[in-house]
C-alpha cells in the first residue's frame, strides 16, 4: 500500500498528531504553560499568543477552544498532578512540561502518583496521560534548560518513555502515546523541531516498543537515541567513504525497549556503539551496553563503545556546549575503535 506523504518539519508533525488526536477523541485535552498563551487577554479569546514557547501547539486553540487547550499557571506540580487525576477519572490529558529540567518541581506527581497508582491500586486504575517535554543541548540554553534526563524516567516502573528522531516517528509515536492506556513521557529534542522529513498523511501510528533501523549495514551496530540518530547518520556517511557500513538502530521508545532489534543487529555486526546525549552514569548507554554484554557477549568482536555527554551539567558558552554534545566525528571515531 502506498501511503501519501508530504515534506514537513518535526514541529509540524507533532502539531499534526495533536490536532488529529484532539479531533478523534473528545477526552483528549492539552494543558501546560503558554500552550496557547494570552489567556483572558482581549483579542485572544479563541486565538493563541504563543502556541507553546517554541510554537509547537500553534493553532490548536483556534480549532479546539480554550476548554480543551488550557493555559496553566506556572505550577507544574499542580497541573501535572491534575493531569494524573483527570486521567484516572476518564480524560486523556496531554500535559506539557516545558523543559524536562523542570521535573524537579513536579516529580512527586509523576513518580509517586502517575507512575504508581495502577500498581498500588492492584490494577483497579489506569492513568492514560502523556507528558510532552523538551530536551537537549545545542540551544545555548545553559544548565537548567538543556538536559535530556530520559534515563531518569526510564528507570521508573509504570512510565513509558518515547524519544522520536524524525518527523514521521514523532507523529506516529505521539499518536500511539496518546492512545496508550499508561502514562507516557514524550521527549522532544528542541534542535529537531526544524528538521524536515517525509510525513505520512492522515492517521498514522507507530507502535510503542518497536525499534527502527535507520540505516542498514553489517560493519557495526550504532544504537542512537533522539537527535543522536541524525548525527549518527552523518557519521555513517563519512564512514561509508572509508568502506565501513554501519547499521543504525533507533530504539524510538526506551521503555518498553525493543531488546530483540538491538540484539539481532549486534549478532549480525559483532560490534556495538551506543550514542546517547544524556549524562553517562546509570544511563541508556550503560543499560544497552549491559543488555548486549549479558545477552549477546559471544557475538561481540570488540568491547562496546559509549558516546555520551560528560558527567557534568550542560555549560552555557557555545564553545563549551559544543564539547559537551556528542558529535558526528566522535561517533565515527567510536565506530573505528570497534574495528
Amino acid at each position: 500500500m502506498v501511503v501519501a506523504t508530504r515534506t514537513a518539519t518535526f514541529r509540524e508533525a507533532i502539531n499534526e498528531a495533536l490536532r488529529l488526536e484532539l479531533a478523534r477523541d473528545p477526552d483528549v485535552i492539552l494543558m501546560g504553560e503558554d500552550v496557547a498563551g494570552g489567556a483572558t487577554v482581549s483579542g485572544f479569546e479563541q486565538d493563541d499568543a504563543w502556541g507553546g514557547v517554541l510554537g509547537v501547539t500553534k493553532g490548536l486553540v483556534q480549532e479546539f477552544g480554550r476548554d480543551r487547550v488550557l493555559d496553566t499557571p506556572i505550577s507544574e506540580s499542580g497541573f501535572i498532578g491534575a493531569a494524573v487525576g483527570a486521567a484516572a477519572t476518564g480524560l486523556r490529558p496531554v500535559a506539557e512540561l516545558m523543559f524536562v529540567d523542570f521535573f524537579g518541581v513536579c516529580m512527586d506527581q509523576i513518580f509517586n502518583q502517575g507512575a504508581k497508582l495502577r500498581y498500588m491500586f492492584g490494577g483497579h486504575a489506569k492513568v492514560p496521560m502523556v507528558i510532552r517535554t523538551m530536551i537537549g543541548a545545542g540551544f545555548r540554553a545553559a544548565g537548567q534548560h538543556s538536559g535530556c534526563h530520559y534515563s531518569v524516567f526510564t528507570h521508573m516502573p509504570g512510565l513509558k518513555t518515547v524519544v522520536p528522531s524524525t518527523p514521521s516517528d514523532a507523529k506516529g509515536l505521539l499518536a500511539a502515546s496518546i492512545r496508550d492506556d499508561d502514562p507516557v513521557i514524550f521527549f522532544e529534542h528542541k534542535l529537531l523541531y526544524d528538521i524536515t522529513g517525509e510525513l505520512p498523511e492522515g492517521d498514522y501510528v507507530v507502535k510503542l516498543g518497536t525499534a527502527d533501523i535507520k540505516r542498514e549495514g553489517d560493519g557495526a551496530t550504532v544504537v542512537a537515541i533522539g537527535r543522536m540518530v541524525q548525527l549518527s547518520l552523518e557519521a555513517a556517511e563519512a564512514l561509508a567513504g572509508e568502506g565501513i557500513e554501519v547499521e543504525i538502530v533507533d530504539p524510538r521508545t526506551l521503555s518498553p525497549l525493543d531488546d530483540e532489534a538491538i540484539l539481532a543487529s549486534v549478532r549480525k555486526t559483532g560490534r556495538l556503539v551506543v550514542v546517547d546525549e544524556d549524562n553517562p552514569r546509570c544511563s541508556m548507554a550503560t543499560d544497552i551496553a549491559a543488555l548486549v554484554t549479558t545477552r549477546a557477549f559471544d557475538h561481540l568482536d570488540a568491547p562496546p563503545q559509549l558516546v555520551t555527554a560528560p558527567h557534568t551539567p550542560v555549560p552555557f558558552s557555545p564553545v563549551l556546549e559544543d564539547v559537551y554534545v556528542p558529535s558526528a566525528e566522535r561517533i565515527a571515531e567510536a565506530v573505528r575503535a570497534t574495528l
Partner: protein, 322 residues
C-alpha cells in the same frame, strides 16, 4: 440542610464503624497481625463522615496517609479494606497498596496517599474531568494540617480557583504534623484564612461536631455543583492515636488527650441526635452491634483470604507493556 433521621442514622453508623475499625486495627497491629505502617483516624470521624454525607456515589474523594476513615465514609466495604491491611489477595488493592495506598476508584475513593500533599493536585484532575464531561461530580480533597504547608496544596487551591473546578478542600487540622504543632508550622492563625489568597470561601469549623462539618460541606458542595468553584473548609479536630501506630505521643500531654476524649464526637452526636428525636437509643445500640459484627466479619474475611500469588509481584504495573 436539616438533618433527617435517615441521614443521622447513616452518619452515626459510619462514625461508629470507623471507630470500631480503627480500634480493632490498633489491636491487630500491636499483635503483629498487620504488617507495615498504619495511621489511625479515630477521633477525626466527624470530618470524613460530615463531608461524605453530602456526597453521592458518583462523587470523588482524595485522601491522606490516614485514609481508613475516608474509605469507610465514602462507602468502601470494610471486608476488602481489612484484607488489604492484611496484605491479602482479596484486599481492595489485591494486597499491593496496604493501609497507605488503600483505594477503591469504583466508589470514587482515589486512594490514601503516602505523600503528604500528594492528593490536592489529583483532586483538581478529577474536578477537571467532571467539568469537562459535565458529570456533575464533586471531588472532596482531604488533607492534614501538615499538608497545608506543602506547595502542592497551594498550587491545587489556586488552580481549582482559576478554573472554577468542582472541588472542596477539607483541611483536617488535628493540631500536629506528625509531632510538630500547628502553631509552630503554620504562619496563619487558621488554615481557612488562606482561602482569601485564592479568592474562595474559607471557613473554620469544629471538626468534632459532625453537624457543623455537614452544614459547611453542604454549602461548599452546592457551590461546587453550581459551577461556582472550590471552597476551603478547615475542621479542627484531634487524633486519638499517635501519628502512626508505635508513636509514643510524647509531644501531647495526657490531660490534653483526656480532655478531647471527654468531648468524644460520637457520643456527642449520639446525644444530639437522640435529644432531637432523630435517633432512638435502640438505633444507637443496633448501630454499635452492627458495626462490631461487620468488623468481626471483616477480620474473618481477611484471615481466610489467600496470600497473593508470588507472580502477582509482576502484574498491574502497566495496562499493557510492548
Amino acid at each position: 440542610m436539616e438533618l433527617t433521621s435517615d441521614k443521622a442514622l447513616w452518619i452515626y453508623d459510619r462514625m461508629v464503624t470507623i471507630r470500631a475499625f480503627e480500634e480493632r486495627v490498633a489491636k491487630l497491629f500491636a499483635d503483629g497481625r498487620i504488617p507495615g505502617f498504619v495511621h489511625l483516624y479515630a477521633g477525626e470521624e466527624a470530618v470524613a463522615v460530615g463531608v461524605c454525607a453530602q456526597l453521592n456515589d458518583r462523587d470523588f474523594i482524595t485522601s491522606t496517609h490516614r485514609g481508613h476513615g475516608h474509605c469507610i465514609a465514602k462507602g468502601v466495604p470494610v471486608a476488602p479494606m481489612m484484607a488489604e491491611l492484611f496484605g491479602r489477595a482479596d484486599g481492595c488493592c489485591k494486597g499491593k497498596g496496604g493501609s497507605m495506598h488503600i483505594a477503591d476508584v469504583s466508589r470514587g475513593m482515589l486512594g490514601a496517599n503516602g505523600i503528604v500533599g500528594g492528593g490536592p493536585p489529583l483532586a483538581c484532575g478529577s474536578g477537571l474531568a467532571a467539568k469537562r464531561k459535565g458529570s456533575g461530580a464533586v471531588t472532596a480533597c482531604f488533607f492534614g494540617d501538615g499538608a497545608a504547608e506543602q506547595g502542592t496544596t497551594h498550587e491545587a487551591m489556586n488552580l481549582a480557583a482559576i478554573w472554577k473546578l468542582p472541588v472542596i478542600f477539607v483541611a483536617e487540622n488535628n493540631g500536629f504534623a506528625e509531632s510538630t504543632p500547628v502553631g509552630y508550622h503554620c504562619a496563619a492563625s487558621n488554615i481557612a484564612d488562606r482561602a482569601a489568597s485564592y479568592n474562595i470561601p474559607g471557613v473554620s469549623v469544629d471538626g468534632y461536631d459532625v453537624v457543623s462539618v455537614y452544614e459547611a460541606a453542604g454549602e461548599a458542595v452546592a457551590r461546587a455543583r453550581r459551577g461556582d468553584g472550590p471552597s476551603l473548609i478547615e475542621a479542627k479536630t484531634w487524633r486519638y492515636f499517635g501519628h502512626f501506630e508505635g508513636d509514643q505521643v510524647t509531644y501531647r500531654t495526657a490531660e490534653q488527650s483526656a480532655a478531647y476524649r471527654e468531648h468524644d464526637p460520637l457520643t456527642w452526636f449520639a446525644k444530639q441526635a437522640t435529644d432531637r428525636g432523630l435517633l432512638t437509643p435502640k438505633d444507637l445500640e443496633e448501630v454499635t452491634m452492627g458495626a462490631e459484627r461487620s468488623i468481626d466479619e471483616a477480620i474473618e474475611f481477611a484471615e481466610k483470604s489467600p496470600l497473593p500469588a508470588p507472580e502477582e509481584t509482576l502484574t498491574d504495573v502497566y495496562v499493557s507493556y510492548r
